[in-house]
């Protein structure tokens, strides 16, 4: 196990690249968390307060607006997760690697 002594910790912590990385990642994950919460609880509140609206016909047939919206929440959960992975695997991982190399 690599020894992470307190001097090295201080160094990394005060590295502007570390602060930039953490700020960018925190902002990104916070935005995504708020998005999924808003999508999910928005859907729940629609069900609780506007079930008739969800029950309207989508295109004149029996399929209602609620069906694509519900499936949309599932797809949104997958897409948001994917967005995070894409950015984390490229941008964030590269920054982290550079940081760790520099402070070896």
């Amino acid at each position: 196990m690599a020894a992470a002594n307190s001097a090295a910790i201080e160094q990394i912590k005060s590295d502007p690249d570390f602060q930039r990385l953490v700020r960018a990642r925190t902002r990104f994950s916070t935005v995504l968390t708020v998005l999924i919460l808003a999508i999910y609880f928005g859907f729940i509140l629609l069900i609780a307060f506007a079930p008739q609206w969800l029950g309207q016909s989508l295109a004149g047939g029996v399929t209602t607006i609620g069906i694509p919206l519900g499936v949309g929440v599932i797809v949104a959960a997958f897409v948001l997760t994917g967005l995070y992975v894409r950015r984390a695997n490229s941008e964030f991982d590269v920054l982290t690697q550079q940081l760790l190399e520099r402070h070896k």
Binding site: A4, I47, A48, G55, V62, A88
Partner: protein, 566 residues
Amino acid sequence: MIKSRWLKAATALSLIACASAAQAAPAIEGGERQPLNVEAIVMFLIFVVATLGITKWAASRTKSAADFYAAGGGITGFQNGLAIAGDYMSAASFLGISGLVFASGFDGLIYSIGFLVGWPIVMFLIAERLRNLGRYTFADVAAYRLEATPIRTISALGSLTVVAFYLIAQMVGAGKLIELLFGLEYLYAVIAVGTLMTVYVAFGGMVATTWVQIIKACLLLGGATFMAFVVLMSFSFSPEALFARAVEVHPGQQTIMSPGKMVSDPISAISLGLALMFGTAGLPHILMRFFTVSDAKAARKSVFIATGLIGYFYILTFIIGFGAITFLMNEPAYFKAAADGASYDKVKDLLGGTNMAAVHLANAVGGSLFLGFISAVAFATILAVVAGLTLAGATAISHDLYASVIAKGRASEASEVRLSKITAIIIGFVAIALGYIFEQQNVAFMVGLAFAVAASCNFPVLLMSVLWKGTTTRGAFWGGLAGLVSALVMVCLSPAVWEDTLGYPKGSAPFTYANPALFSMTIAFTLIWLISKLDGSARGDAERAAFDAQYVRSETGLGASGAASH
């Protein structure tokens, strides 16, 4: 005889159908031993032989603690994603949610969405930090800078409570389902499940448990895909045509296409939503899985794969539920006829109850051989889930309680692993005993309770210790304990226990909401914050000062050990 067999299924499935706890069918008892279902048993035996072979192979590779708890960190991101999906796609979600869709259409979709949306949260807030800070359990992470004894005690308490309730619900449900599908007596069925799960865990550790999970996930996804495909094919792949036919056949007609009475009270809806969403991020057997991969990148990949597979699976269950409406409702053979011998209620009178919709559909689309296959998959599913739970429980006892709290870190790795194996065997016996004791009880509320405890104890302790610098041992311990106790008390005072289990009159339950998470999570987070703020002890100051080192490591993985031993 056949009828009573299906009646028993109603009971069995209401027990394992976690989310549909609120609609749990009343317990119906009676009926003798059922005729043996040969196809199902043969297919299940093939599964057992294959998984025991894997266990033997896994046992030869399981030497160190890292091998036992975390498969030596040698699972790939994709494999782990499949295994996580396997852990999560229980027989309850397959049979329970498709049954809910069969009974009330759109409402089934609401539940499946609740189960899925926890995964993005796990990804954005938990997965990487967990992988960067921990070794085998989430308590490793929470105790990274906090004092081991209290933090591991509260984490182990939370984990064991979750595991116990989950396990009881699965054991009782498994016993009844197997009795029904295979014609095996309840007690033998429970013993079979308890024995097999113990063998997987005690001999094969995480390696065997992971591969059992992966095989089961593939079987379940394959079977469900085939059913959904046949259903859609018979409607020329037009969902509108499928829905139109379902509306025509279902007694609820157009109402099955919109939200029904399930979410009538916004507080209950939000409380249940919170429990499902954040409970996922606090389930010990799921969190353990993040230590089986080599690094944070693989951890991310596994959550992404799992989210995709679980989402796909829930869409399949929705199609299967509607398929069951169109294929079954006009076929009297699948229903219990009323006294006149001809009429039947197209929802309530389904043989075995609405939770059997997917099983009947398997027969309708693939004949008795496919019915046997789906029955065997249901058995395999339960087995894989209980094995994961047993491993999580054994790890909480040996790694968190014994090695850290009791032996204070002086236990050798070998003795720790030996204790895990012994614990797994003990858990097997306890699970069989509990399955036996709870046979006649209504245990439908227990999975909901497990999610509520995970969301109110494990999740707040984990999240606050990692994200908030101010968290101290005192705050995390008492806040976590308050979350645990308040969740338990509120569930005991809720209609599911107070009225349905303890038998007090309808409407007398002191706590009127179906799930406590909204309140118990608030209590836990508030107390962790407040008590930490008020904590002026020297230990508290040292813990706040130690946050920086933890923070740097949690964000960069600096110094993070691979799960492989060094």
